[in-house]
């Protein structure tokens, strides 16, 4: 007996909220997402400044200077800060990425004053104590040592290095010698110069009103002095003109990590949404072509996916999988073939429909909490997306046709001009990889072999 699946209804749209905003005298923008369901408030301070602002001669400044904020202020020592925040369960976090830095405090609403007091202390009055600087540096030294033993990290580092060349986006890792050379004063100056209020966003989410949030911001961050708004210009870098292969030799590897990458688009480009759908068809989730081919048909891997990463001026499309070393070259071939198929024929109607629903579902889940809506809003502004970007996101997704996906794939997904990166034990994979194209072998520290 065959029973038909129940017919689902239409997905209900979720409205992206209008987010009230207040600008303080020093230029700090305060956004508030009030929702009183749970007695919790999350506060996030975000700057459009990140590791690409590091000078070439030292790529550790952004990470270390932000890490040091919680290691001492004019009125609190490192120990005081840890005791104070843990006692009240103030969850303090920092996140430094290529083009953004976030500091966040999340707290039960009864302690919101203390949380703001702490945040303001770290942001306005950090002292970068020499003794704490030495400790932070030592911790980063072991951190980057461990990082270099992770195959996924090595694949990512090599991919960015080759695809972005001299562009600052290439520099996603800290060389050990930069850590050895960095000085306390450099960190102090880097932070003081770049991290002012005028470009920053302060986002309150949760059990807090606009009035209360504005008063808190004014009281604790109102005296923060306006800085010099920094700007950064990026060099343009040519795209790959042919397929290249980078092999990172990691002795004793039990698998091969493969990553096929190509430069794509920033999110404010007109083709960015069609390209999202193309990537979804190719490798978004467990019903995608890469997953069904490499895992469900061939059994090469536990999972094969593709995804887009977007920065202000650039983007990347990456197809990745961790595969059995013996079939490494075959897995790369299949990935390239799936990319080629994207250029040859439009997606089936039901396939496109599914991918659209997947994007829509992810969007709705992204709005499940006020703090995650805050993250969407921060990214909207960082990527220079229009005011109504999320309000019109659903219709924009729905208007993408199969023909448009084909056209977009032809423009941006070209397997004859991609970088294939493999992290594996070279003995097990090198010979067959040489047949794919010109191959360069690196050691785990990035030297060519």
């Amino acid at each position: 007996m065959t029973v038909e699946a129940p017919k689902p209804g239409q997905i209900e749209p979720v409205d992206y909220p209008t987010i009230p905003e207040v600008v303080l005298g020093n230029g700090l923008r305060v956004l508030v997402l009030e929702e009183r369901r749970l007695p919790r408030i999350s506060i996030r301070l975000a700057w459009p400044i990140g590791t690409v602002w590091n000078p070439d001669e030292n790529l550790s400044l952004a990470d270390l200077s932000v890490d040091l904020l919680k290691e001492g202020t004019t009125s609190r020592s490192s120990v005081d800060i840890a005791d104070f925040s843990d006692q009240l369960a103030i969850q303090y976090g920092e996140d430094v990425s290529m083009e953004q830095t976030h500091l966040s405090v999340s707290v039960l609403d009864q302690y919101v004053d203390q949380a703001m007091d702490l945040l303001s202390d770290l942001v306005l009055r950090p002292t970068f104590p020499e003794e704490e600087f030495q400790k932070v540096r030592a911790r980063w030294q072991s951190h980057i040592l461990s990082q270099r033993s992770q195959p996924d990290f090595l694949a990512e580092e090599r991919t960015y290095r080759v695809l972005f060349g001299d562009h600052p986006y290439a520099k996603i890792s800290i060389p050990p010698e930069h850590l050895a050379q960095v000085e306390r004063d450099q960190l102090h100056d880097f932070y003081k110069t770049l991290f002012g209020p005028d470009q920053a966003l302060l986002v309150f989410a949760g059990s807090v009103s606009l009035e209360q949030a504005t008063a808190l911001a004014e009281r604790y961050l109102g005296e923060w002095e306006k800085g010099e708004a920094p700007s950064l210009s990026y060099p343009s870098v040519p795209k790959l003109d042919r397929l290249q292969v980078s092999l990172v030799h990691r002795p004793h590897s039990a698998q091969a990590v493969i990553s096929v990458g190509t430069r794509a688009l920033p999110r404010n480009h007109a083709d960015a949404i069609p390209l999202q759908l193309a990537s979804q068809v190719l490798g978004g989730g467990g019903s995608s072509r890469l997953f069904l081919n490499l895992r469900e048909e061939k059994g090469y891997t536990y999972g094969a996916y593709s995804s887009l990463r977007s920065y202000r001026k650039e983007g990347l499309l990456l197809a990745t999988a961790n595969v059995r070393s013996e079939v490494c070259a075959e897995a790369v071939q299949e990935t390239l073939a799936e990319m080629e198929r994207m250029r040859q024929e439009p997606p089936q109607a039901n396939e496109l429909q599914r991918c659209l629903a997947e994007r829509l579902g992810a969007f709705i889940r992204g709005m499940e909490s006020p703090s995650s809506v805050g993250l969407l809003e921060i990214s909207r502004r960082l990527h220079n997306l229009s005011e109504d970007y999320y309000r019109t996101y659903v219709p924009k997704l729905k208007e993408v046709t199969a023909e448009k996906v084909l056209e977009t794939s032809r423009a941006y997904i070209d397997p004859s001009r991609v970088l294939v990166t493999v992290v594996a034990d070279r003995e097990q994979v090198e010979e067959k990889l040489r047949d794919l194209g010109p191959l360069t072998v690196y050691d785990m520290d990035g030297n060519t072999l």
């Binding site: 840890a82 019903s287 059994g299 050691d443």
Partner: protein
């Protein structure tokens, strides 16, 4: 059921009371391999169609296996509740897996093992630790299992496993989010009520003998760059008063930069690069684990001595009321944090149902934490942290980082 609408989403979760602890010696990894089979076809749903149905409505789906239970879930738009129930009911009622699909998933799981353990620094130690600490096979062997056992598994084993463990009598269904309880209950009845309860298992009761002397082992990991120490002390099962005392204790001991071990081992001395400690949350006999990555050139014995010194302080003097309050504040914050998303709420409710036979504990557990006193923590610390109750696994990298930095190729590696 937990009806609460914020977004038009509903989370559907089915927990089966079966995990790797039921596996017979020689069939390690089977419960998890079987989890993969639940996506390979049932009477009305073909291979990979389960995921496709959910993806087509913009939902999210997955499953996971641990020592004590296997869970299957989907978060879908609330007007697709019926679809989700139908999908879960179909694979509870029937299983249709071909030899080819069984073989394909065997390969997939072997690659999963490599990706998650064999190709990662310390992955082997993770698999080894329970083997060393537990005498009971049920908890000693890993969830992922051994490749040689996975190679032995057959399609007939899968059919038997489904019959034995996947009946409604062994399952808990949780719905959370945007739902009307009366309507939802009617749909549940429609799809699940006529599934025969063929389950013959009562799940496993894991018994662990009292440990009488310390166990130690050293393991070499060619993928690691720094040493790692794992310590474990046997503790009673989850949900008992000792569990709540030890959970609060672990916050004071090792959570956050203000914790005693963080301050001593990381902040003051930079002897370890990171640490985590706490109860392992198995349903049966538990372990209180410590995981520490040791800095280059640091003497492991010195670190162990420092930990022993901190434990001695806890035995000598009860923690302060301020410290206890800190731990309770952390618990209160975490409790609120997991009530935001329907998927979190659904999984937590199911956890309480399966591990404590009481989903309503979600509203009452805080009281159990509040009944812990500094003195009751001291008692359980004295009882637990004894040398003869301890297992120690030391992982050594093959070469020190200095050496490996100096050797560019592997021409001389002697495997």
């Amino acid at each position: 059921m937990y009806p609460k609408r914020r977004t038009p989403l509903v989370h559907i979760s089915v927990h089966y009371r079966v995990g790797s602890s039921v596996e017979e010696p020689g069939l390690s990894g089977f419960a998890h391999l079987f989890e993969h089979m639940m996506f390979q076809g049932s009477d009305n749903v073909d291979k990979n169609e389960h995921g496709r149905y959910v993806d087509e409505v913009g939902g999210r789906w997955n499953a996971s296996t641990n020592k004590d239970r296997t869970n299957y879930y989907e978060t879908v738009p609330s007007n697709c509740l019926e679809l989700g129930l139908w999908l879960e009911a179909d694979r509870m009622r029937s299983l249709r897996v071909t030899e080819a699909n069984f073989e394909n998933q065997r390969q997939t799981v072997i690659e999963e093992k490599k990706q998650s353990y064999d190709n990662r620094p310390y992955g082997l130690a993770y698999l080894r630790f329970d083997e060393l600490a537990y005498e009971s096979w049920a908890y000693a062997h890993s969830v992922i299992g051994s490749v040689s056992d996975l190679q032995k598994a057959t399609l007939e084993d899968a059919a038997r496993f489904h019959r034995t463990y996947y009946g409604p009598g062994n399952a808990t269904l949780v719905l959370a989010g945007d739902l009307n309880c009366d309507q939802a209950l009617e749909s549940v009845g429609k799809h699940f009520a006529d599934i025969p309860n063929r389950t013959s298992s009562e799940g496993s009761r894991v018994e662990e003998p009292k440990q009488s002397s310390e166990k130690r082992e050293v393991l070499t990991d060619p993928l690691a760059v720094l040493p790692l120490v794992i310590l474990g002390y046997h503790i009673p099962p989850i949900g008992l008063p000792e569990y709540y005392a030890l959970s609060l204790f672990s916050i004071v001991l090792s959570d956050g930069s203000s914790s005693r071990l963080h301050r001593k081992l990381i902040y003051e001395n930079n002897w370890v690069t990171g640490l985590a400690a706490g109860p392992n949350r198995y349903k049966g006999p538990g372990l209180f684990d410590f995981w520490m990555q040791i800095q280059d050139q640091v003497d492991v014995d010195q670190v162990l001595k420092a930990i022993e010194g901190e434990l001695e302080r806890f035995r000598a003097q009860p923690i302060s009321h301020l410290e206890l309050q800190k731990a309770l504040n952390q618990i209160a914050y975490r409790h609120v944090g997991r009530l935001q998303r329907v998927s979190d709420i659904g999984e937590i409710l199911a956890h309480y149902a399966v591990y404590h036979d009481d989903p309503n504990l979600i509203n009452q557990e805080l009281e159990r934490y509040l009944s812990v006193t500094p003195e009751s923590i001291r008692e359980v610390v004295r009882e637990t942290f004894r040398a003869e109750n301890r297992t120690l696994l030391l992982v050594q990298p093959q070469a020190s980082p200095q050496e490996s930095n100096g050797v560019p190729g592997d021409e001389e590696s002697g495997e």
